[in-house]
């Protein structure tokens, strides 16, 4: 089943590492809440963005003062687009 993985804590949590252990090829990753700090600058090598569809919630980036231009490989989504993602993927796994 095509799955959307959501990550909602800062990189200190190492949630992405756990997520990448369990993710399948055509899955997607959505960064939201404190998870958006994962895409603060290119803090870690964003190699996974080439393998999986990656999304970040725009409102959470703006709230936290994270620059939202030129984020390679990460699609910015607003709340309506978040709803569309929930439809597009057959199930959701929340990493928190």
């Amino acid at each position: 089943m095509k799955t959307l993985h959501t990550i909602s804590k800062t990189p200190t949590s190492n949630l992405l590492t756990s997520c990448l252990e369990a993710i399948a090829e055509d899955d997607g990753v959505l960064f939201l809440e404190d998870g958006v700090y994962y895409i603060w600058k290119d803090i870690k090598d964003l190699i996974y963005t080439e393998q999986y569809e990656c999304y970040a919630l725009k409102e959470d980036l703006l709230a936290r003062g994270i620059e939202i231009t030129s984020r390679k490989g990460v699609n910015l989504v607003d709340y309506p687009a978040f709803v569309d993602l929930c439809e597009k993927y057959e199930k959701i796994i929340n990493w928190f």
């Binding site: 909602s8 804590k9 800062t10 200190t12 809440e33 404190d34 700090y37 603060w40 600058k41 290119d42 803090i43 725009k58 409102e59 959470d60 703006l62 709230a63 936290r64 003062g65 994270i66 620059e67």
Partner: protein
Amino acid sequence: MNYQLTNFTFLARTAPYGTNRCNLLMDIALASSVFEQKSNYVFMDDAIYQLLRNQNADHIQTKTFGKAIEALKLYGINNIYVLEKSLTERSVSLDELVLNPEIINQQQLQELVRNSQNVISL
């Protein structure tokens, strides 16, 4: 560097918005300053993110923490520090932060903590 004996050292360790720990710690600090306690405020680990410029929490219907935190100085808490390691780990530079904090290393942090009567970490 020789740090004076202080009543309180506050260690902020968490990112804003995800939890209310940063608000709680600031509330305690502001309350302590009303009683004229001498305090240090240290931002380390994910608390670095509390100080980012250009926060605008209107987008998530809450108060912008990067503005609220400036109250520390109004309340006379002027010893504001950031831990160097936490900055470099997150690729954050000083000019991206509000409050103009002083950068300290691990040894200086240890000294602050040792010379403080009370240490509150949230």
